[in-house]
């Protein structure tokens, strides 16, 4: 029997999902659904937009208005949906390759516009759907099927990238820290402006196996052991933070006007609202 949350927010007849055993995406998808519930949004007004890749299959399972688009273009489609009807709550579920490689241009420009989208990047550090090629978030030196001798690319820090591009809310969560993740996504949805949340997932099948990270439990344990909440980190020394990564709300700006609000003012100014 599915839980109440699953029953309410998922297309139960489409489950089980296609993700591999041990994949972190299912946990993150549930976190998103729980956050939407916690925000009390009318499901009829929620739109989930996704691109292509493992992450982007989430849209199909979620019982909202769901738009599974082309590779890299989720944020551009979402921009159209939101501007066309600003009353809709538009949430983008995308992956590390989808959002920061093929769709990187749309990501930074949506950040710059400060359009009210909540973008959640399920980051599994690899191209999973195509079988384990290195992505923009595969750590330097690690392996993928297209980096058999080790990845010489340097990887993106996605929240930092988004913040630098003008996102007015950024944060990071993990598949392990579900409660914190739900709270963070909730805050991202409530934020009126562009929010970017990196959801660190685990891919035991490709990234884990290629790089000898062990099974899913081991990879989730690594998240548990190495994530430091941003508030706790403030009290720690650089030595204590060595090799750790931050989770929680990483940046937030409240006084920057949102894109569709500004556009509606233009319409009003030129009399198009009559």
């Amino acid at each position: 029997m599915p839980s109440n949350l699953i029953e309410k927010t998922m297309r139960v007849n489409r489950l089980p999902h296609i993700w591999c055993p041990g994949c972190g995406h299912g946990i993150l998808m549930r976190d998103v659904a729980q956050a939407i519930e916690n925000c009390g949004l009318d499901p009829d007004k929620v739109v989930i937009v996704s691109g292509i890749g493992c992450s982007s299959r989430a849209a199909g399972y979620m019982n909202y208005n769901t738009l599974h688009t082309t590779h890299g273009r989720a944020i551009a489609f979402a921009t159209g949906v939101k501007l066309a009807n600003p009353d809709l709550h538009v949430i983008v579920i995308t992956g590390d390759g989808d959002a920061t490689a093929i769709g990187g241009n749309h990501l930074i420009h949506a950040c710059r516009r400060n359009i009210d989208l909540t973008v959640i990047v399920f980051n599994n550090n690899i191209y999973g759907m195509t079988g384990g090629q290195y992505s923009p978030t595969t750590p330097h030196g690690e392996k993928g099927t297209t980096a058999p001798y080790g990845n010489i690319d340097y990887n993106f820090d996605i929240p930092q990238l988004a913040q630098a591009a003008g996102a007015t809310f950024t944060g990071r969560c993990t598949a392990y820290h579900a409660q914190q993740a739900i709270k963070l996504i909730e805050a991202g949805i409530r934020h009126h402006g562009f929010s970017l949340i990196e959801g660190l997932s685990v891919c035991p099948t490709y990234y884990g196996r290629k790089n000898k990270k062990g099974d899913s439990v081991k990879m989730l344990t690594w998240q548990k052991d190495n994530a430091v909440d941003v508030k706790a980190a403030a009290k720690m020394t650089p030595e204590q933070l060595e090799g750790k990564f931050l989770i929680g709300e990483l940046s937030s700006v409240e006084n920057k006007e949102e894109y569709t609000d500004m556009y509606m003012k233009i319409i009003e100014k030129v009399g198009g609202d009559k």
């Binding site: 009829d44 769901t66 738009l67 082309t70 273009r73 489609f77 159209g80 066309a84």
Partner: protein, 381 residues
């Protein structure tokens, strides 16, 4: 909108036609020679409560326009060759997900960056086959500023009615031409608005009523929480690998246009019933052909006719065959176009040698002139 009769550029008239048809969203990226379409949309759309956004690239332009269409607004994007190439993947997405959209391509000369400010009609085949896989598409090509207006309205009507991408295939000749245009008030126009079929459960978005040929799902936000995807999908819009479903869906997509082409095809016949030489052309080239026919009447010359597809895809095949069958004087067909012979291939396929088919083309960035046409007629007569 202002006065009923205005001197407008082709690129401006397209926007006015779109707005008259109910266009309320435009997303695009600047590119010559189509930029005036974006500029006028930016100016005009907010005045009618619509939205304009300049996206970060061509792909973003069509993607945002498709997103807006899914949210219920009639949407357009416009571009030229290089941008048209970039938009192709999402044209296929619109085709399989059955999202209405109008895509304007103001053609320019050559592959790659080519000659950005020179006229061409080299995207004719791309407009039909540009995106991968078998897919339905409707392509309309105007040959005057007035047609930029009226045919753009028809393009939106077709997009909504058939839930397909409609390509509005312009050329620089018409895009940058200024001439008189009658802006017809909306109460005098026939406008097709998106039909929404609520007899199905909301999730059965892609179910098709008996006697209908397109799914009539509601815009996002109206309570029918369904899935839209570029994968082959079942009636709920959920992805499937089922070969039977794939076959049924693909055939329905193609047949919805193929089987109803008589409602989509449109063409102009000028003195085709008794001409000896018939010139087949489309878009801006028609102006040179009309000029040649006009000139030919001032001298003792071969009797000319012009056959001009306005809907270029699906090609008005039956109409062409009817002329060939009925005109006993016809001894020569010339296909005139600003490319290396693209419509020529289609005409040769249809004519099947019943009448000799010759070709007049230009690919140097200059336009075919009436004299070029007259000379060609003489040469091959």
């Amino acid at each position: 909108m202002g006065k009923r009769f205005q001197l407008l550029q082709g690129n401006e008239a397209v926007v006015e036609g779109g707005i008259a048809a109910g266009m309320r969203f435009y997303a695009g990226y600047p590119i010559t020679p189509s930029t005036e379409i974006a500029e006028r949309s930016a100016l005009r759309l907010p005045q009618v409560g619509g939205k304009f956004i300049q996206m970060e690239d061509e792909i973003g332009g069509i993607a945002a326009a498709l997103g807006a269409s899914v949210a219920g607004l009639k949407s357009m994007t416009a571009t030229s060759g290089p941008g048209f190439s970039l938009k192709q993947e999402n044209i296929g997405y619109a085709a399989i997900a059955e999202i209405p959209i109008v895509i304007v391509d103001v053609q320019r000369e050559g592959p790659s960056t080519g000659l950005p400010t020179s006229p061409s009609q080299g995207d004719l085949m791309q407009s039909k086959w540009g995106t991968h896989g078998d897919h339905p598409v409707i392509v309309i090509s105007p040959s005057s500023v007035q047609e930029c207006y009226t045919e753009c309205i028809r393009a939106f009507n077709m997009a909504e009615r058939f839930r397909v991408p409609v390509i509005f295939l312009m050329d620089e000749i018409i895009g940058h031409l200024r001439e008189g245009c009658e802006l017809i008030p909306s109460e005098e126009l026939t406008i097709s608005n998106r039909r929404v079929d609520r007899s199905f459960n909301g999730t059965l978005a892609y179910a098709v009523q008996e006697g209908n040929y397109v799914p009539e799902y509601a815009p996002f936000g109206e309570g029918d929480k369904f899935n839209v995807t570029g994968l082959f999908h079942d009636l709920d819009g959920f992805p499937t690998n089922d070969n039977n479903i794939t076959d049924t869906q693909e055939r329905r997509l193609l047949d919805k246009i193929r089987m109803r082409r008589d409602r989509i095809q449109k063409w102009e016949e000028f003195e085709c019933e008794d001409c000896e030489t018939m010139i087949i052309c489309f878009g801006g080239t028609a102006r040179a052909v009309q000029g040649a026919i006009e000139d030919s009447k001032k001298m003792d010359f071969i009797k000319l006719g012009m056959f001009r597809p306005i809907t270029v895809w699906p090609f008005p095949e039956e109409a062409l065959l009817k002329i060939i069958k009925e005109n006993k004087h016809l001894r020569q067909i010339i296909v005139a176009e600003h490319n290396d012979g693209q419509m020529l291939l289609e005409v040769q396929r249809i004519v099947e040698g019943r009448v000799p088919v010759d070709f007049l083309g230009k690919i140097d960035g200059t336009t075919i002139t009436p004299t070029d046409v007259i000379d060609k007629v003489k040469e091959v007569y």
